[in-house]
């Protein structure tokens, strides 16, 4: 009788909840974001008003709950109150562990959103040995960014870099000084493919309907296998749908940029299922940074369509099915002219990702995820010389990746979580620049333990064994420890390993750039035969001694060391300091193996270089006043090739001399002459002011990004390394701002964004657009 009335009310409002005489029980433990039990938290079933407080061990039990779908609210002092959903069957004993987020960590953007169960990955990417960060939906919305590259280039230690030597469309993400090819791009925990000479163009991904972006800096092959040498960027699409709603948004601004979004989402089948579908249309006229171009752009114009969605269905209290899908298509035509010599550069690409996931929750802390993932990427990009009608081949291929994986996670004593996975993947590549279709396959097993040893000490360790069809087996372990001697200080240290198997290009490429200098690049597997062809055709003037050393490539390997601390001297201030050192060996690089009669180089790939990428990463966040947060970051980076340093030190080899234009002569090079690898800035920094005035629904941001000078290419004379007399891109500041107001009872939002307010341009940065001002409108239905 006690709850008859609330039940009646509930029946009237939620007619899908069926009252049944046989009752069920909900129990579980409330923990905080560090896994500690939260005592004294109030756990209430909203619909019935039933509930109670958690015990010293954070446990709660709610008896005699009728079968049905409920919302359960958890309130605890010092934590955000959250609401979770639960569906109960008659006589069921539902175990519902709940995690609450500390309110003190308002600072920490990572924890603003309540952490929910992730159906796509049982491993929490913030619980890996290497340092990680999260960019939340809220942050992305505040910035007003449209494409993924725009979001990432404002993060500490990340840069978007053009790869001039791979063509005007080759652009990618640099992380801690590693080229784009060394960072794995994941969508909901699964790898995305489709690279242009290793460069992953992130502008093909819309940030609409991205829940958050997780970034791990440092070798992460332990969990993700090959390619995760610099780190990982994981794009998490919307996972949880709680109510029926629709949203439409449009933005318009400089360069005729249009960004339009339409989203619909709803629970269905009495709350057992839920799903959303979202569409995005984006277009831009592109931007030209090159004053010599009379027509055309250096950041090419394009039109892109994206359709993505997810469907979730609870088969039973134990099993849930998840389907995710994404299809994106991009079309771009760049008609270029240098007051004459017109060319047409055309790109068409299609990108498909799909997953079917079965999540099994066996209770008592044991969960299993079984997944099949497929991705297909195809691109066709060619440049037509409109004078001669000759086609200059760009990038033409179709790539498939299939992956099956079973993951299991078990929690013991609320303090040890072990997650393991086993799987296999098969990849095919059909590229015009290779002879015939190519494929490779690998199988893997990994395991990670996350152990909270005591209140002060936590450890995360793991390993991965991978067997590759070409390179055999490899083992990549990792280990991290954190120690909290006092409440305000956490000390962290980690070591992890990374590897990257040679890509198809390094094995099979047969490419002569007839338009851009006439150099030839030969993959190691094709090298002998192709060199002979060139020799027979009488094109070769000299074959260098190293040609005999072209052989089977070995995977590149790295060891990442990371150590630092997080200091929280006051609830409103937090600072993170982290030193990193990546030691890379068997680094694959091209080296000249022969000269053609006209001097053009013939290249092949070698495991020659030993490089190190080392530096310091600092981040802080400060709530300066109510609603005003100031956050910033800084990265110091030394990215150098050891071979160059050794040659300079010994005064022998290719790098022993430098031409000093002031002396007008060669002189012995010094270690200090060597700036490092091209495209790497020694200093990068950013600061972000975000202001939120809740009563008026106004939020605003102002961000300043600095990128220090970096090497562009050699000038002066050819000595194979960046010396002080070479071409550098000057350091620069980019200023961005946005302001948003929420109207009509939170149904409508208007936003004004300004990127690159100073309109900073440099022809050495072809991909950096000038000032962009956009106005946007968002409307939420229901």
């Amino acid at each position: 009788m006690k709850y008859f009335l609330p039940l009646l009310v509930m029946l009237l409002h939620f007619n899908h909840i069926q009252a049944q005489s046989s009752s069920a029980q909900i129990q579980g433990t409330v923990t905080d974001d560090k896994g500690n039990a939260v005592a004294g938290a109030a756990v209430t079933v909203i619909q019935t008003g039933q509930g109670g407080a958690t015990t010293e061990k954070g446990q709660y039990t709610i008896n005699n709950v009728a079968a049905g779908a409920y919302h359960i609210r958890i309130n605890a002092i010092g934590y955000h109150s959250i609401v979770v959903k639960a569906t109960l069957k008659a006589n069921e004993h539902l175990v519902l562990p709940i995690r609450v987020e500390s309110d003190m960590n308002m600072l920490n953007e990572v924890n603003i959103n309540t952490k929910k169960y992730n159906p796509d990955n049982l491993i929490d990417l913030q619980r890996t040995p290497m340092p990680s960060m999260v960019i939340t939906r809220k942050q992305i919305e505040q910035m007003g960014s449209r494409r993924l590259d725009e979001v990432l280039k404002e993060q500490t230690g990340l840069a978007i870099v053009n790869d001039i030597g791979s063509g005007a469309r080759a652009i990618g993400l640099q992380m801690q000084g590693f080229d784009s090819g060394y960072t794995m791009i994941l969508i909901d925990g699964q790898p995305m493919t489709g690279r242009n000479s290793g460069n992953f163009d992130l502008s093909r991904i819309t940030v609409a309907n991205i829940e958050r972006i997780e970034i791990i800096k440092g070798a992460s092959s332990c969990l993700f296998g090959s390619d995760a040498m610099a780190g990982v960027v994981n794009i998490v699409t919307r996972q949880h749908v709680s109510q029926s709603q629709g949203m439409a948004g449009v933005r318009y601004g400089t360069f005729n940029t249009v960004d339009a979004n339409l989203v619909g989402e709803s629970p269905f089948a009495n709350g057992k299922g839920s799903g959303y579908i979202a569409g995005n249309y984006y277009r831009t006229d592109g931007f030209n940074a090159n004053p010599y171009l009379s027509e055309g752009k250096t950041a090419p114009p394009y039109t892109s369509y994206t359709l993505q969605g997810r469907a979730k269905y609870m088969l039973s209290t134990v099993n849930t099915l998840n389907f995710t899908g994404r299809f994106a298509s991009r079309h771009s035509v760049n008609d270029k002219s240098y007051t004459g010599s017109p060319t047409k550069d055309k790109l068409d690409e299609d990108d498909l990702n799909g997953s079917a996931v079965l999540n099994t929750n066996l209770g008592r802390g044991l969960r299993i995820k079984s997944q099949y993932y497929l991705t297909r990427y195809s691109t066709g990009q060619n440049i037509t010389d409109l004078t001669s009608n000759e086609i200059i081949p760009g990038n033409n291929f179709t790539q498939y990746l299939h992956r099956g994986e079973v993951q299991a996670s078990k929690t013991w004593f609320n303090s040890l979580v072990v997650t393991s996975g086993i799987g296999t993947q098969y990849e095919t590549m059909d590229n015009d620049a290779y002879q015939g279709g190519k494929h490779q396959q690998n199988s893997f097993f990994y395991s990670q333990g996350d152990w909270k040893v005591s209140d002060k000490v936590g450890m995360i360790g793991g390993f991965r064994v991978e067997h590759h069809s070409r390179y055999g087996s490899s083992l990549t372990p990792s280990f991290g420890i954190n120690y909290q001697p006092v409440k305000m200080l956490v000390l962290k240290a980690a070591v992890a390993t990374g590897f990257k198997t040679p890509d198809f290009r390094q094995l099979y490429l047969v490419f002569t750039n007839f338009a851009g200098g006439g150099y030839t690049v030969l993959g190691t597997e094709q090298f002998a035969a192709e060199l002979k062809k060139l020799q027979d055709a009488g094109e070769i003037s000299a074959v260098f001694p190293n040609a005999s050393k072209v052989s089977k490539l070995k995977p590149e390997r790295s060891v990442s060391y990371s150590a630092g601390f997080t200091l929280t001297p006051a609830p409103s201030f937090k600072i993170d300091v982290n030193g990193f050192y990546n030691n890379v060996h068997n680094f694959i690089n091209t080296d000249q193996v022969a000269s053609k009669k006209g001097g053009q180089q013939v290249f092949s790939y070698f495991n020659i270089d030993k490089a190190f990428l080392s530096g310091l990463d600092v981040g802080f966040s400060w709530i300066a006043a109510k609603g005003l947060t100031i956050a910033g970051g800084y990265q110091l980076l030394y990215a150098k090739d050891r071979g160059v340093i050794d040659s300079i030190k010994t005064g022998t080899g290719n790098y022993a001399k430098v031409y000093d234009p002031n002396l007008g002569a060669d002189r012995r090079s010094k270690v200090s002459d060597y700036f490092g690898l091209t495209n790497r800035s020694r200093h990068m920094a950013n600061i972000r002011f975000s202001y939120e005035y809740e009563p008026k629904g106004i939020t605003g941001t102002f961000r300043v990004n600095y990128r220090g000078k970096y090497g562009f290419q050699e000038s002066n004379r050819s000595n194979g390394f960046l010396d002080p007399y070479d071409t550098y891109v000057a350091g620069f500041f980019l200023l961005n701002a946005s302001i948003q107001k929420i109207l009509l009872n939170k149904h409508m939002a208007v936003q004004l964004t300004a990127d690159n307010i100073l309109n900073y341009r440099d022809m050495l940065m072809p991909g950096q657009p000038g000032r962009m001002i956009l106005a946007g409108l968002n409307y939420r239905f229901f």
């Binding site: 200098g517 150099y519 053009q600 031409y659 050819s718 071409t727 100073l758 309109n759 440099d762 000032r771």
Partner: protein
Amino acid sequence: MKMIKYNYLKTLLIAVTSTLLISSCTKDQVKPQLQDGKSTIVNDLPGDVGKTINTGFRTFYFSFSTNAKVDSSQKKTSQWDIAFAKEYNSYVSINNGTNDASYGFGGTGKGSMVVVNKAYDQVTEAPADDVFTTSSITSAGWDSGSGDASGWYFYDLKTHLAIPVKNRTYVLRTADGKYAKLEMVSMYKGAPAVVTDLNWPAPYFTFRYYVQQDGSRNLSTKD
């Protein structure tokens, strides 16, 4: 109190934004000044444009005295001083009737060339005849980077773009025996200070030269 703070911030934001919006900046890549009052500057002389390494490039001939291309039918005459041959027409060659490596072999040209590792304006005198006689080069193009290399450009290993060798000047004896100096500046259209596009139109030659008309060895182009 809150309102005041909010208004203050808003005003500040508007002030800062409007200041920034009216200012703008670019980083310009500055080209070197080629004019010296004496030398002849040739801008964007087109080579066999539209051709690729695959199809080959047709050699063309250039006269210092007319500052123009010379028809290939005049190959065996002293009408031209330098030829642009091979890949991208980037090999600058002399007109010498007696040297079989010259495109003018069998003709009347007296040309010869010597490489000088000095900036163009610092080359003030042509070397003695025996230096020309013993000079091992008849053309200059790609530079291998080795110590005795004499090319006028090299390829950057990452960007694959041709970059002119700094402080390298060629002293020539023209087809009719006068002394001259030559600096090759660029093979890309517009001769930008830095080439930023792998498909930047080429070959378009920018270069400057000075011919001493009085027959002496004085090549000073300073006033």
